[in-house]
């Protein structure tokens, strides 16, 4: 049968399409629950408007003028463009497509290693884990970038590895997780070297070196390609900055996972250990090293759990196959030569992309009434009080220096064309350790809270209504309630007579 007739998507493509459709139908609210999405859109819009990158802060009264490394500038521009066309649903749908394509690639890798049945089971296990950090934010580009890197690295054709260099350059402008791509390359080089470790023969050593030459050259070129971004190699320092101890202790996504709540992760780790012990002979060394590295990362930060489990789909598939599941699976019972249908490896990803583009277009062109009805499936968290925003729009800001909740900073940037000067927002790395730790001390009512509020000249506060900090200030005669609803309270400092 001629290849030109192949239109039906292969199982990997179909899997990606299904993932995209399922997420689009059921995960609209979840994907927008994080405030970072909002400030990314805002800064992207500003960059589009002014036609230049933002390199300094101009929105806070605490870090005004401070240099800022907008390392995700390209993602932000894409997000802002999507938002201007199709609103928040457009941004969410775009990221769902990214996740769909990620799963397509991982399915393909797993399928190449152990067949479709085990690959499908591994994807089915990984998808619920992916939900733990599935947010409309640029880190999803790292999922896709890492999956692409794995796809290329697991390909026997060494020449294809050169594709990693442009991929790395693009990735470096989308998300700081580009370093992860370099680690993956290093892992595969190490794995290859261990797998083919020569004995004492000199010829064997030469062959061994020959086999590693291209991957090492690609790795070095990719390292240089990381520098192709507006901030150069400064980008490499960024992960160290954001995983700083104070941020890791106080920002939920950087904390160590709580294994009592994430009991499913506990089960996954136990399964990983047991399968590693039972069937280690099936793991090539690259996959073993990858499992160790991703396990290490998942233990350190909650935000890495989903990525670790998603990227370990091929390892999970190897384990599932080794348990003997392959014999009973309908997909695996078909031998390649018996396949009647000619399947396309391109039509699945293409269909996912087309579906995503069509839906975004629909949102763009739909009448306002339809659009707002559809937007209800992609709501912002209720905690962002529209009432408080309406009050501020009508009455103006009741002071000059605001003390705001961390998450609310993002929302204020998004909701106002000219937001009030903020105390803090989701760009913790820009604010730095001192401002962030002062913020943490104040919201925990440390003994020096009053002194710090004075030092920063705070004269009004916008905070979640039930937060301890807001409730305490409401009892204080020095503060007057200007607005209050179930979700937010606005206070201003009373003028001393």
């Amino acid at each position: 049968m001629g290849r030109q007739r192949a239109l039906l998507p292969d199982p990997a493509g179909l899997c990606g399409l299904v993932v995209f459709l399922v997420l689009s139908l059921f995960s609209g609210a979840k994907v927008l629950r994080d405030g970072d999405t909002l400030w990314h859109i805002r800064f992207g819009a500003l960059m589009l408007e002014h036609g230049e990158l933002i390199t300094h802060d101009s929105f806070s009264h605490t870090a005004y003028g401070q240099p800022w490394l907008a390392h995700e500038w390209l993602s932000e521009i894409i997000m802002a463009a999507l938002y201007s066309w199709a609103g928040l649903p457009g941004v969410a749908l775009f990221y769902f497509a990214i996740v769909g394509l990620t799963f397509t690639l991982l399915f393909k890798i797993a399928s190449r290693l152990v067949g479709d049945g085990s690959a499908l089971a591994a994807v089915a296990i990984a998808l619920p884990f992916a939900m733990t950090h599935l947010l409309a934010r640029p880190h999803l580009f790292t999922w896709l970038g890492a999956a692409l890197t794995l796809f290329i690295l697991s390909n026997d054709n060494d020449r294809a590895h050169w594709l990693l260099v442009p991929l790395t350059a693009l990735w470096a402008n989308l998300h700081g997780g580009v370093l992860f791509g370099l680690v993956l390359q290093a892992i595969f080089i190490a794995g290859r070297l261990i797998d083919s470790c020569p004995g004492r023969s000199r010829v064997a050593w030469l062959t061994w070196w020959q086999s590693a030459k291209i991957p090492i050259a690609v790795f070095l070129s990719s390292t240089l390609a990381v520098g192709i971004n507006p901030f150069g190699f400064e980008l490499l320092l960024f992960p160290l900055l954001v995983s700083n101890k104070i941020f890791a202790a106080e920002i939920g996504e950087w904390q160590s996972p709580d294994f009592r709540l994430m009991w499913y992760l506990r089960l996954w780790i136990i399964a990983l250990f047991l399968t590693a012990a039972c069937r280690n002979n099936l793991y090539p060394w690259a996959w073993r090293l990858l499992a160790i590295f991703l396990f290490w990362e998942a233990l350190g930060h909650v935000r890495h759990v989903s990525m670790a489990i998603v990227l370990l789909v091929p390892v999970a598939a190897i384990s599932i196959k080794s348990l003997g599941w392959r014999r009973s699976g309908p997909l695996n019972s078909i031998k390649p030569e018996e396949v009647q249908l000619v399947l396309s490896s391109w039509s699945g990803p293409l269909l996912t992309t087309v579906c995503c583009a069509a839906l975004i277009l629909l949102f763009t062109l739909a009448p306002t009434q339809w659009r707002s009805r559809a937007e209800r499936r992609f709501p912002l968290p209720k905690e962002y009080s529209q009432g408080a925003i309406d009050y501020l729009l009508k009455e103006g800001f009741p002071g000059r220096r605001l003390f705001n909740h961390y998450e609310w900073g993002d929302y204020l940037l998004f909701a106002f064309k000219e937001p009030p000067p903020l105390f803090i927002d989701g760009r913790a790395d820009m604010y730095g350790e001192r401002i962030f730790s002062d913020y943490v001390k104040m919201i925990h009512l440390a003994p020096q809270t009053d002194e710090m509020l004075s030092r920063y000249g705070i004269d009004w506060v916008l905070f979640p209504a039930n937060h301890l900090f807001a409730r305490t200030l409401q009892l204080d005669a020095a503060w007057k309630i200007r607005y209050r609803d179930d979700h937010a309270v606005i206070l201003s400092k009373t003028v001393k007579q």
Binding site: K245, A248, A249, Q255, S256, P257, D258, F259, R260, R266, I269, I270, L272, F273, L274, A276, A277, C278, N280, Y283, R288, A291, I292, F295, W296, L299, G300, H301, H444, L445, A446, P447, T449, N466, L468, R471, T472, L475, D476
Partner: protein
């Protein structure tokens, strides 16, 4: 010796490396880790409970220390340990308690080390593995009854590896264990795992029936052990109590029941990554017993940081099993210039026990001649507001006190229970409602003040930097009557009478 030494061991007195390790550990703990051993509040409640039992000649199984649950009965599953701690405290004060628990830790690790020696792994591997286990268990190396579970758990593991007639010691051991610490359930779990593991290992060759038949004696020993574990003043309730203590409602905030924080406790992260690497590199699949132990302890360690110590200690044989095939097998007997040294497995333990007896005997003498030396090496936990209490003790406010969870033990210890506390470290005694109300108050949830009213609290003894104090002062219904850097006292303002 049952290890099949090639020559007679009649004159053997030199200790194995395991004995020397235990001896070194004991001395290091006694001379350098006194404050660490005594840092936890529970130690002090156990001591006072034990002293009460010595005074009254009966088991303390109802509350005498609190203003929230006075007279409430509870399962005092550690009564034996409390009695011993009370007696040690009467004999030699806090130093005696700390020294005894240091000895328990040293002996437990000696037994596990000796087990590794018998499994014939190289000396450097044994030393590395046991030292790593010690470092990872160190955060919970405290003068508290759970160290009895270290000891009895280590003996159980040793006996289960030996098999033979020595397994009959297991039921006998369950009787003291069930009266010393609630962890005795681990002993039963270990026996169960060894039975199932051996059946699974034998299954491919022998089939189900044969595999089970070979384990009949082990099953009988397990059943006798279960019956023996009921030989405590609370019977079956003591076993079921385990479920209460580990319930989510009671350990939601308690640090030792929280999952490990892999950022701060990074050595555990390294340990688990190393274990995964060892499993991925293993030449043979480990025995089913080891895999079942791995499942149990991995789950326990990831769920609660207090179980990390058990995991790293009881997974020691697994390391040997994984790494031994990669390493050259070594002889059990150390050679010295071609002559065989006769080593003893008992002399190390005997020496440690001698040191225990000698130091315990010298504590009363030292406390008479140089009390400063003892109090410097074995001080009251530095977490406690001892200086603050000294200043306020003669002028304590009247009425019911609300206190910090960790300071409850301190107040009980300092006042011998004369000032009733709101809560102390025995969360299970207070039950889920009071425990959760306590946290609602200290986290200043909306109903915090209402709850203080519900419990008719008149004064608060709390760390000065707590948000609760700042909030209560802002309400205007509480006033500060004492404050220093560590502790503050707030008292409820009397309502103004209408004129």
């Amino acid at each position: 010796m049952s290890s099949g030494l090639p020559t007679s061991v009649k004159w053997a007195w030199l200790p194995y490396p395991s004995g020397i390790f235990g001896l070194t550990l004991l001395l290091a703990l006694i001379f350098t880790q006194g404050p660490k051993l005594l840092i936890d509040g529970d130690t002090y409640i156990h001591i006072r409970s034990g002293e009460w039992m010595l005074d009254h000649g009966r088991i303390l199984a109802s509350d005498i220390f609190s203003n929230t649950v006075p007279g409430n009965e509870y399962v005092a599953h550690e009564w034996g340990a409390q009695l011993l701690m009370g007696w040690l405290h009467r004999t030699g004060g806090l130093p005696a308690v700390a020294i005894f628990f240091a000895w328990l830790a040293a002996v437990s690790l000696t037994i596990l080390y000796r087990l590794l020696e018998r499994l014939r792994s190289p000396a450097w591997l044994n030393l590395t593995a046991v030292t790593s286990a010690l470092l990872l268990a160190f955060p919970v190396l405290l003068a508290r009854p759970h160290l009895f579970t270290w000891l009895f758990g280590a003996i159980t593991l040793d006996l289960l590896h030996r098999q033979g007639r020595s397994r009959w010691l297991l039921p006998m051991m369950m009787i003291p264990w069930a009266n010393l610490h609630g962890g005795f359930i681990l002993g039963l779990a270990l026996q169960g795992i060894f039975i199932v593991g051996k059946v699974l290992d034998a299954l491919p060759a022998d089939g189900w029936r044969e595999a089970w038949r070979d384990r009949h004696k082990d099953i009988f020993v397990l059943l006798v052990s279960v019956v023996a574990s009921f030989c405590n003043p609370f019977g079956v309730a003591s076993m079921l109590h385990f479920l209460t203590v580990s319930s989510a409602g009671l350990n939601r905030y308690n640090p030792e029941w929280l999952p490990p924080d892999f950022q701060n406790f990074w050595p555990l992260r390294v340990y688990l990554a190393a274990l995964l690497t060892a499993l991925l590199c293993a030449r043979h699949r480990p025995a089913w017993t080891s895999l079942l132990l791995l499942t149990l302890f991995l789950d326990a360690a990831l769920s609660h940081r207090r179980h990390v110590s058990l995991a790293v200690m009881f997974l020691l044989p697994l390391w040997t099993e994984l790494l031994n095939p990669h390493l050259r097998q070594t002889s059990e007997v150390t050679r010295d210039n071609g002559r065989q040294l006769q080593l003893s497995g008992w002399s190390g333990l005997l020496l440690q026990t001698t040191i225990l007896v000698v130091t315990l005997a010298s504590v009363p003498l030292l406390s008479k001649n140089s009390p400063e030396l003892l109090s410097r090496h074995f001080p009251l936990s530095e977490r406690f507001p001892d200086k603050s209490w000294n200043r306020i003790q003669n002028d304590l406010p009247a009425g019911r006190m609300f206190n910090d969870y960790n300071w409850g033990a301190f107040v009980i210890y300092r006042t011998s229970g004369k000032v009733p506390v709101f809560i102390d470290g025995f969360a299970d005694k207070y039950g889920e409602t009071i425990y959760q109300d306590y946290y609602k108050i200290i986290l200043v949830e909306k109903e915090a003040e209402e709850l203080l009213g519900k419990y008719r609290i008149d004064w608060i003894f709390f760390p000065s930097d707590a948000p609760l104090l700042r909030y209560l002062l802002a309400t205007g219904r509480w006033e500060k009557s004492y404050r220093d850097d560590q502790a503050s006292v707030l008292t409820r303002r009397k309502p103004q009478l209408p004129r």
